[in-house]
C-alpha cells in the first residue's frame, strides 16, 4: 500500500481553494497507488480546518496545532515528522507561494526527488509521470521520476475541488517543534495595491503586457482607453518596470478581475497572469505570436502586431492614435 499525504494551504483564517483541488489530485494518486489519502493541516484553527478537509475520498486528517499562520520552519518540521510517521509514497503540496517556501526543504530533508508545478500526475509500476510546462508554457513535457517516495507540488486550477463530505478519521498529530530551528519570524501582513482605481470593479479592461516594449508606447494604450471608456490594467512586468502602479496588476500576486470584456494586448498568458483574469466573461487577445498560451483561453483572437492593430482600433472609436 502506497499512501498519499497532502498538505493544505490556508491564510488568515481560511483554507485556500487549492487545498480542495489538492484533495482531488491526492485521491487520484492514492487510487493509482492503491493507498489511503491523508490530509494534513498545520497551524491556525486546525480543528475547524480539519472538518472542512473531511471531504469525499479523504481517509485521515492530521492536525498540527502549532502557531497561527504559516511559518516555513514549523511547516518543514511538521511535514517531515508526519512523512516519517506515515511513510507515504507521495507528499503533495500546492505550488503556491507558501508551497514554494517549504516544499523544496521538505524534499531535501527527506532525501526525496522533488517535482514542482505539476499539471498532471500518473503513477504506475513504481514510476511517477509528471506533466509540466517549460519555456513559459510554450512546451509541455512529461517527466518520469523513478524511485519514490516523491515530493510533488501541483499547479492551482488544474484539478477540480473535491466537494462531497467524507468520513475521515480526524486526529491530532503532536510535533515536538524544535524552537531553536525556527529561525524566521513572521511579523505581520500588509495589503498592497490600493489606490485610485479598483480594476476589480471594471466592466471593460484593456490590459497591456510586455509586448508594449517601451514606457513611451503606453500612450498608445492610454489613447485606446480614452477612446473606449475602458479601464487600464496590465501584466506584471509593466508594474515591475514602474510604468504603472501595483493596483493595475492583474494576476496571482495582483488583482483578480471579472470584467465583461478583458482585452489582453501583448500578454503571453502566463499561468500567474491567467489566474487573475480567467473569470472574465469575454476574453479577447491581441498577440503577434499565434502560439501564445493566451489564445487557449481567449474567446476572440487577433493574431497581429499591436502597433498596427491598436491604432486602427483607436480610429474605429473616433480617437486619434498618437505616434509611437
Amino acid at each position: 500500500m502506497s499512501d498519499v499525504l497532502v498538505v493544505a494551504d490556508h491564510r488568515r483564517g481560511d483554507l485556500r481553494d487549492v487545498s480542495f483541488e489538492l484533495l482531488t489530485a491526492g485521491r487520484e494518486l492514492a487510487d493509482a497507488a492503491d493507498g489511503d489519502l491523508h490530509a494534513a493541516v498545520v497551524s491556525g484553527n486546525v480543528e475547524e480546518f480539519a472538518e472542512e478537509l473531511n471531504r469525499e475520498g479523504v481517509d485521515q486528517v492530521h492536525t498540527v496545532d502549532y502557531g497561527e499562520e504559516f511559518n516555513h520552519d514549523v511547516y518543514t518540521q511538521a511535514v517531515v515528522a508526519l512523512a516519517e510517521e506515515l511513510d507515504p509514497e507521495f507528499v503533495v503540496t500546492p505550488n503556491s507561494v507558501n508551497g514554494l517556501d517549504y516544499a523544496p526543504a521538505v524534499a531535501t530533508r527527506l532525501g526525496r526527488p522533488y517535482v514542482s508545478d505539476a499539471t498532471g500526475l500518473d503513477y504506475a509500476d513504481g514510476t511517477l509521470e509528471v506533466t509540466r510546462e517549460m519555456y513559459g508554457s510554450k512546451v509541455e513535457t512529461t517527466v518520469d521520476v523513478a524511485e519514490g517516495p516523491f515530493v510533488v507540488t501541483t499547479r492551482g486550477g488544474e484539478w477540480p475541488p473535491v466537494e462531497g463530505s467524507g468520513d475521515a478519521e480526524i486526529s491530532a498529530f503532536d510535533v515536538d517543534v524544535d524552537e531553536d530551528a525556527v529561525r524566521s519570524t513572521v511579523k505581520g501582513f500588509e495589503e498592497v495595491g490600493g489606490g485610485d482605481v479598483d480594476i476589480g470593479e471594471a466592466d471593460f479592461l484593456v490590459s497591456i503586457g510586455r509586448g508594449i516594449e517601451e514606457e513611451e508606447n503606453l500612450a498608445l494604450v492610454e489613447e485606446l482607453v480614452d477612446a473606449t471608456g475602458a479601464t487600464l490594467s496590465s501584466s506584471r512586468p509593466i508594474v515591475d518596470n514602474g510604468w504603472l502602479p501595483k493596483n493595475r496588476q492583474v494576476g496571482q500576486s495582483g488583482k483578480q478581475v471579472t470584467p465583461d470584456v478583458y482585452l489582453a494586448i501583448g500578454i503571453s498568458g502566463a499561468v500567474q497572469h491567467v489566474a487573475g483574469m480567467k473569470g472574465a466573461d469575454t476574453i479577447i487577445a491581441v498577440n503577434n505570436d499565434p502560439n501564445a498560451p493566451i489564445f487557449d483561453i481567449a474567446d476572440y483572437g487577433v493574431v497581429g502586431d499591436l502597433f498596427d492593430v491598436v491604432p486602427a482600433l483607436i480610429e474605429e472609436f473616433g480617437g486619434e492614435p498618437p505616434s509611437v
Binding site: P104, T108, P113, M134, T228, Q252, N291
Partner: protein
Amino acid sequence: MKVLVTVKEVATVEDDFEISGTEIEETYLDYDLNEWDDYAVEEGVQLAEAGDDVEVVAVTIGPERSEETIRMALAKGADRAVRVWDDAIDDVELLDVETKAELLAAVVEDEDPDVVLSGVQANDDSFGATGVALAETLGFEWAAVVNALDTEKVLDEGVASVRRELEGGVEELTDVELPAVLAIQTGINEPRYASLRGIRQAQSKEIDVQSLDDLALGADDVASDLDVTAMYEPETESDAQYLEGDAGEQASALAEVLREKGVVGE
C-alpha cells in the same frame, strides 16, 4: 560581508520552433540571463553599494557558452564569478533540484557568504525550488518570493527583514536570521543596464571554473532522478474565434465585438 548570487543562463524559445525528440532544436533557442536572477544580481550590487566591504560573487552552473551570461553579472557590478561545469553534468538531460542544490552548496561552502540571493524561478524549467533546497542543504535559513529587503538591517544587524509576496496582493513581513538564502521576486528593484565600461571590464575578468573534482563531488552526485520522456507543443484547447484580415479589418471586427458586448457605446 559576502553576498553570493546564483545566476542561470536560460534558453528562450522563438515564436516558431520545432521539437526533435525531447528537446527543442538548437536553432530555435536564444540564451539570456534568467529574468528573476537579474533582480537578484541587482539586489546584491545594491547591498555592496550600501555597505563597506561587501563582496558580490556570482555563481552559475553552465557550459562555456554561459560565460556570456555570467559576464553580464560582472558587468553590472559583481566582483567575481564562479562557473561550475563538468562532462558528467553535460550528460544529464534535466538537472534535478537536489543536484543543483548540491553543486551550489559546494561552492557556498568554499565561499562562506552571509547572504545568498537566487531568483524565485528560472523561466526555462521553472522548478522554483533551487534557493530553498540550497538553504536546506546548507543548513541556512531562507525566504522565498522576496519582493523587498531591508538593506540596512542586513548590513548592520545580521537580520534579513523581507517582504514575501503572497497571492492576491498580500505581503508577509518576515525576519530571517543570517546566513540565509533569499529567493528574489521580480519588481524588488530596478535592474540596471550594464554600462559600456562595465562590459569592457567584465570581458577581462577571469571566471573561476570548477569541476566536480574541484568541488570534491563525484559523478554520482549529479545523477538526476528525472527523465524527460516527452516534449510537445500543448494541444490548443482554444475555441477562440479569430478575427482575420489586415490590421484595419481586424480592428473593425474587434470594434464590432466590443459594441456587441455593450462595453463601448456607438
